[in-house]
Amino acid sequence: MHSEDSNQIARSVEVEPIVIFDEVSKWYGNVIGINKLSLRIPAGVTGLLGPNGAGKSTLLQLATGQLFPSQGKVRVLGREVWNNSALNRFIGLCPEQDAFYEWMTGWEFVHTCARLSGLRRSAARDATQHTLNAVGMAKHQNRSVRGYSKGMRQRTKLAQALVHDPQVLFLDEPLTGTDPVARRDLMNIIERLGSEGKSVVVSSHVLHEVESITPNIILLNHGRLVAEGHVRQIRDLIDKHPHHIVLICDDYRRLAAQLIVRDDVEGLAVLAKDKGLMVETHSPDAFYGSLPGLSLAEGLTIREVYSDDDNLEAVFKYLVNK
């Protein structure tokens, strides 16, 4: 890739989506990995969500040119990715699999990846140290990778993805198996990369993880795009469908009698064991708004109100199962 190409890529970052999937399908024999997926991922941090087997890894492997689309086209930074190894100078991938050259130390591993990216000796040395500092692995860098904890391995994988200073980063389940401290650290790193102008695509099957990194999400299931956009937009989508709200109240039978006559209540289930009710409603905001009045007027003490739908997890479950 010549410097002119680099300039074109730099310009394209500002005006075009970073990643474009155009009617892309990928199947492995009879198994569909990605199904007619059209997608535009903008610059910034984007969360790629879906349950196991949704096609997240296939999508990332297509985006990094490891797989050839059975149908359609994949473009990153305005360039087709398949057999375009020069584009890899601008792309970093933190793969999902927990694989390393186990006999290397952390420093050797990252340094080797830097050299494989074409960095000259001294630059590779500097970049390795710089990146290991960035992911908080400097103090463990001389230990063999074989002896690393899961969190340390994830940090080291992230370091190899960052070491050549790519413009676009694809992180495949980077938080999997990490302890809370490592998780928080990795989230901070990803957020910071986004704030520094990198484009980051983070895949995960745990919604709250991604939710706390970025509001921009893409939901995948069975290789299809389920929803994309800002968390709020996805919430709007879900608001068109029934919400489930749980009310815990000692006098739950009397509360049920009050609720059943209301127009905004679509359904009601008694949770006798928890002394509560599960209300199904199309108008969650209005319902929440009426609760204080209901409690005051009828003298009912509602001890707890919660809704799984308040968490993105519920949105996700709903959307992928519809």
């Binding site: 190409d5 890899n88 494989l116 960095l119 630059a123 960035a134 200073d165 990369l193 520094e196």
Partner: protein, 300 residues
């Protein structure tokens, strides 16, 4: 990680190092050295070590039990029957089958595929590292065997040294051909070990020993032609001096006048080298179009 700094802060060192260009010699050299280092790790190295000591051990054993056997006969038996027929294909198969498949199995191939290196270049560099490793091992193996055969014998040191160098060259040529061929097979099928063993036993082991045209398609045939046309295998026997290679390899000109039609030295060398190049080029082309599936935890 409060003290941690980000990769992009303070002017990342990469910014001044990444050069434009489709191929990076740095990357390819690193891959070459990485592959050599990979070959130095693991159990394969131990297995190869034991395997490589076997001919020398066998020579010592035979010398200890049958002291009257001529050194030349022992040399022919081990250096020109055992090694090229069994050990070289096996060594080539073990190393070339793992070139990419080991990386795929261990899921480390991703780290290569996401670098600015074309897949065909990755294949060729790994093949070059494999050839380097196997040729060095072959040289060591052959030298050790010659030492075990001739050490302490009343021979002219210089002529033995010359024969040893010639044998190393012939074996190196053979192992290069085998590596390129098995490398191609490894790109075509995951079952390269099974295919390779069947090929070695049936084609190189059995059919190559029959005086039919099929032997023209074997590495061992050209290896023998080169050895036969460059080295002297005449040894004293109870019936007088005999060329032991002529009978063993069916190259006896008295009973096989068509030997004159067999390839000359230069032709045999050219065939092995050109076929190796063709195999390597074919494999590289196939590799450039190949998808390397990696078992992700999700797929598992």
């Amino acid at each position: 990680m409060s003290s941690a700094t980000s990769a992009s802060e303070v002017g990342h060192p990469v910014n001044r190092s990444l050069r434009a260009g489709r191929f990076s010699l740095t990357a390819l050299t690193t891959l070459f050295l990485l592959t050599l280092r990979q070959y130095m790790h693991g159990k394969r190295w131990i297995v190869m070590g034991i395997l490589f000591l076997m001919p020398a051990g066998l020579a010592i054993l035979i010398r200890a039990t049958r002291s009257n056997i001529p050194s030349e006969a022992l040399e022919f038996l081990i250096v020109y029957l055992l090694i090229p027929q069994a050990l070289l294909p096996l060594v080539a198969l073990v190393y070339s089958s793992g070139m990419l498949q080991d990386e795929q199995e261990e899921q480390t191939i991703t780290y290569l595929l996401i670098r600015p290196m074309a897949k065909w270049a990755i294949y060729l560099v790994k093949l070059l590292a494999t050839l380097t490793t196997t040729v060095v091992l072959t040289a060591v193996l052959t030298t050790l065997t010659y030492v075990a055969i001739y050490l302490g014998r009343d021979n002219q040191g210089q002529s033995v040294l010359l024969r040893c160098v010639q044998s190393i060259s012939i074996h190196a040529l053979a192992v290069i051909s085998y590596c390129c061929f098995f490398g191609l097979i490894s790109v075509l099928t995951k079952r390269v070990l099974i295919v390779g063993i069947i090929y070695t036993v049936v084609i190189e082991g059995v059919l190559a020993n029959l005086p039919f045209g099929i032997r023209l398609a074997t590495v061992i045939y050209y290896t023998r032609i080169i050895a036969y046309r460059t080295l002297d295998f005449v040894i004293p026997t109870p019936h007088g001096k005999e060329n032991i290679a002529a009978d063993a390899w069916q190259f006896n000109i008295k009973s096989d006048p068509s030997l004159l039609d067999h390839p000359q030295l230069c032709t045999a060398v050219t065939i092995l080298l050109v076929s190796s190049l063709v195999f390597a080029a074919l494999a590289a082309i196939l590799c450039s179009r190949k998808e390397f599936y990696v078992k992700t935890p999700e797929k598992n």
